[in-house]
Symmetry: D2
Amino acid sequence: MSKIDKVVLAYSGGLDTSVIVRWLQDTYDCEVVTFTADIGQGEEVEPARAKAEALGVKEIYIDDLREEYVRDFVFPMFRANAIYEGEYLLGTSIARPLIAKRLIEIANETGADAISHGATGKGNDQVRFELGAYALKPGIQVIAPWREWDLNSREKLMNYCEQHKIPVDFSSGKKKSPYSMDANLLHISYEGGILEDPWAEAEEDMWRWSVSPETAPEEPTYISIAFEQGDPVAIDGERMSPAVLLETLNKLGGANGIGRLDIVENRYVGMKSRGCYETPGGTILLKAHRAIESITLDREVAHMKDSLMPRYAELIYNGYWWSPERRMLQAAIDESQQVVNGEVRLKLYKGSVSAVGRRSEDSLFDERIATFEDDAGAYDQKDAEGFIKLNALRLRIAAGKGRKLI
Amino acid sequence: MSKIDKVVLAYSGGLDTSVIVRWLQDTYDCEVVTFTADIGQGEEVEPARAKAEALGVKEIYIDDLREEYVRDFVFPMFRANAIYEGEYLLGTSIARPLIAKRLIEIANETGADAISHGATGKGNDQVRFELGAYALKPGIQVIAPWREWDLNSREKLMNYCEQHKIPVDFSSGKKKSPYSMDANLLHISYEGGILEDPWAEAEEDMWRWSVSPETAPEEPTYISIAFEQGDPVAIDGERMSPAVLLETLNKLGGANGIGRLDIVENRYVGMKSRGCYETPGGTILLKAHRAIESITLDREVAHMKDSLMPRYAELIYNGYWWSPERRMLQAAIDESQQVVNGEVRLKLYKGSVSAVGRRSEDSLFDERIATFEDDAGAYDQKDAEGFIKLNALRLRIAAGKGRKLI
Amino acid sequence: MSKIDKVVLAYSGGLDTSVIVRWLQDTYDCEVVTFTADIGQGEEVEPARAKAEALGVKEIYIDDLREEYVRDFVFPMFRANAIYEGEYLLGTSIARPLIAKRLIEIANETGADAISHGATGKGNDQVRFELGAYALKPGIQVIAPWREWDLNSREKLMNYCEQHKIPVDFSSGKKKSPYSMDANLLHISYEGGILEDPWAEAEEDMWRWSVSPETAPEEPTYISIAFEQGDPVAIDGERMSPAVLLETLNKLGGANGIGRLDIVENRYVGMKSRGCYETPGGTILLKAHRAIESITLDREVAHMKDSLMPRYAELIYNGYWWSPERRMLQAAIDESQQVVNGEVRLKLYKGSVSAVGRRSEDSLFDERIATFEDDAGAYDQKDAEGFIKLNALRLRIAAGKGRKLI
Amino acid sequence: MSKIDKVVLAYSGGLDTSVIVRWLQDTYDCEVVTFTADIGQGEEVEPARAKAEALGVKEIYIDDLREEYVRDFVFPMFRANAIYEGEYLLGTSIARPLIAKRLIEIANETGADAISHGATGKGNDQVRFELGAYALKPGIQVIAPWREWDLNSREKLMNYCEQHKIPVDFSSGKKKSPYSMDANLLHISYEGGILEDPWAEAEEDMWRWSVSPETAPEEPTYISIAFEQGDPVAIDGERMSPAVLLETLNKLGGANGIGRLDIVENRYVGMKSRGCYETPGGTILLKAHRAIESITLDREVAHMKDSLMPRYAELIYNGYWWSPERRMLQAAIDESQQVVNGEVRLKLYKGSVSAVGRRSEDSLFDERIATFEDDAGAYDQKDAEGFIKLNALRLRIAAGKGRKLI
């Protein structure tokens, strides 16, 4: 590895990444550029400025990326109805490629030769950050302190802070959570602590974004979401920007106890891991998107999307947003969404979301043909006989030649 | 079409299939054998005997197929986590191949040369019955009265009854439902009526198997389900036969408002159709099965199952249970389930089911490796660097040669 | 079916479709518009005019569609490396959607309310013509004489000709082939006759487009093909239009005995069928296209293409070129082809085509990294250890917990 | 890494692995067990004994694994028609899991705590060996000298030999090939040298197993291959063991110039690499297997196999033979092969192999239905109308509602 002069660090302003600033300065004798982004994690980002300055950082980037995040990452992913392993809405995975992109942009602007992040060596996030970075700037160097240093216990970190005079009262006001958490506009996640026993139920006070279904309102909430080309554009008739729309859905979902998930998932690095997630707005959005697709998409297009979806979700989970294969799949998905326009009515109630109505100028639902009543000849039932006979032909020939299916 | 001497009819005992008995006798001058099955539709099947006798039927089959249905059809399908179009649990689809099989077995026993059924020419069920019948007995003839006769309105049917002295008070006690319904141990379905407008919300009094989430108990219900080789075998430690187990889950789910679904789906015959479904036990079972798989299945096996699932579900929806391609997929799925043993703890509450715990002797969850705490060397974080670097190699080479991803 | 006033017929000028002209006039009392296309079948199309006139046809369309055919149908399909059932290059299948499109365009221009064709009721072509027609003009009526009339033997046809004074000396000069043949710029096909026994070898004198490998030149022929965005644009440095290029490849391939194929394939209508094909240019083109992709496509893109290909080929074989799902797949395939530029060198010899060289400005082949010699640090072999260790992690955990693979 | 006492080395008897014996002894101060297998590479394995003894090895394993190799690895893979990236028959990939299995078996027998091999850090073989080893014995340690030592040039290796008195005249008789080669009963491969330029044609004298098509016999050779449950069992009516059968096909193919391949492939470790291969018997076998499947497999089973094949081939290429996902796919493939019985007649001529006839007691080819002649009512052409109309229904509805496909 060649000499590093300047490194761009994904900096949260918290204790761990503050330690990393100092450790990078000391270990690599290099300049550190900090980058702090608001992607809807629900914490002020501006305080990171003073903290970075106190650590001697000269180039400080603080960006509000919320609209870009939802518009260019969350919404394109939802066009695919992406779910990882049947359950997970990819709330962490989809935020990483945006961070990777900004790290590289800032490296280009500041002439840095490396990037760094605070993700551990066991998780998926290191992979997502670094694959993105390498794909966008192949010569970049990556420093992953958690894979390099020996500060792998709370005590050692604290000693390091004391030794280097890093103020540790960063989060003094809050009770330290027993969970490892991560949040952005799409979700908040919890890992570690008692969750490491997959038989143990998560404690009620772990959840932060949603009320429990038990304490949610006794009356259902009805909303409608309008879609244009596969993306949501309005709630109850009011047009909103992507980030505002998702934030609104988060509030509606959270208030109705919607979007909690407790799973064991398979990490790309090879181990199983227990995770709990709150994705209130995303859970509503997925239901709504499937409902609007149900009346506007052709059957075979819908089925093809369903068959491609697991691979698409896996790509994003594994960190391959910035890859030609994701772009190839996205081209197919986006092609399908031109007609996904219309409105869905939803019922939110104590943890559940149901689609109760859907309508569209682009609907393929044909009342005349679907009806149980007399259809005035719109559909000739006799066609069904030939349809069945020829679909059965290969089976009839096989059975006629003695093939057994039982 | 050659002369038909004897036809086996799937006979519910209701008005429509009673008309069919007479119509077959008259139109084809043939003997009719009736076959009535209890597959958990929730109605007595024995009364069908007297009705058939009254219509002059001499060979009457009345079978309790509930255990066979759940053991040999429902459970194998649930091993695949089968969902059609992202939502539908295939409750009607999976009952049809069993009926087709019995129709053919009875045709073989009674020397019948044809089968008949009461499904319309617009739906999927005609396809499922007939594909199954042709696949199992290629020379069988199929009579689908709804595609042939002109009794295509309620009035004409009634006139026919009067003319042929068919008693029409069959369902006199009950108020005639505005919906077309179908039920078996896995679910009850609703179509037609106001549902033909996909924007209209289903009325609360349509639902029959579940209380509304609003009126479900205020306290959650916790249960555990034990699995062996991918199939559920016990609830709360009590072993049950397949049908009893599913019935028990239906009660638990129904009491907690679980398993309602309102969708627009794509029929195999080519049109979109609105359907509402209650699948209380199946909804719980799917959640539980995914949860037990989450700790026992290898990642790549799980992902392969997910990628095959849409095709498997489509096969069943379209009526190809009795086909070599379903058997081929089933072989792969069943191979994966040998290790799917263990127990899942679930919370049922006002329409939602959540997995809150899972454990297994066959668990692949490795606490030592997954932990956020010190893992005593079980996992070498430095391995991640090489893992990422080589996974990124093709992307780095491409970027180095000028390929753009943005 | 409502009254038909005018029908557009896909008219070859041969005996069968000439009979159809008269039969349509008589049976439907309607005007017939003939449409004859040159798609490279190797026969003059202009003589069809006089024949149609002699039959009383007033609106006669004779089009040279060769360039459109290759540019808009053959080449897009080859971008996908489409092969049906591992062997068949889809030479008939891909010509049908163009014919369907022109039939509908002419129906629109002439105000016809129906189309007609000379395909039989057992084959795939009827499906391809009619699916295309319905997809492009849903209200169109379709007349398929071979499914309707009773002229289903040579004798009856001849009687009909005599009776209606249709001259039967159309093909008097040529010896009547025992095979059913079909040709266009991409291939010529043979069915029927002794081929109906799949154990019987095709006779040497059946083949028309290629010399036998045995009589091909003793010296190999070397050529190079240049590609731009996945499509071939030049041979040996000479730029050619699509049709001219394919024609040139056909001559080169035919002279070297390349592109013969003898298979049993599965028709969409359900039976197996023996077919022999000569696709000289297409066989060369497929080899060349794969070769240029091999150095320009990303690995995962190439693998995704390979996994989508069977479905894409099936779509085209079954007649769904004009469908939203084909467009969706095409969007993905076309997205991948932007970088497929460069040149391939090929050796043609006695029935074989081999790629012997490939080069491109967009090559991802990196000599520095691929080399067996010292790579001066371009690739760090130590990365492989971590790569393997983490890829093995799930397997190691499983084995550690007692899972057996043998 | 803990202390290593004994290591099992995959030992060819050649110079490189002889150096490794000594290097392991010196570097790890451990005992070395050598394992040399005859998998049909075409060289005597017995001489390896004396060489190992001369290096002080006490436990020497020399196994003839040819039958096991073909029966348990090559044939199961051919049931899938596996081809990597459209061209490569996986001749190297499929030999590795057998070696890995024997290394682990010998480690278990001898109480060794590590295995070692002579594969470089850039290739796929290290991955295949090591994934297999970890999957079968998770606690095993792996020593990959080419990733560890600094003997990365010919000169350094020679110095090491001189210094350690390792005789270098091992291959003195033969002219040193400029290519890196690898052979087993399925194929021989060539890499390196001038092949590192993908535009350069391979020299004629590189090829070792086949005559050039130009010098192959002027007369075609006809053979027949009989299959049972998807595996070949006899040639020209003579039953043979798996290895003898493949060897016989290799001779037949080689004599007719069949099975040469020149490609650029994508390695699992991330780079593209040029490879040339001779797979004479395998090329014939693949053609024959597809031909026997063409008359015995159901259409949808065949298509499902085709759609799964790329993933299956990728698994084997990447080294995941010993994995639960490969077993899952194999279960599906093997299920499909019960009916793949019968005989194929093939023509071999100057580099090409063609199937010219196929027959089977399990044939699904139905002459009565397939015929162009009168079929006496076996197939009702009128069924095709309903078949097409309903398959077109979704397209007609969409077009009727204004959807455009052009």
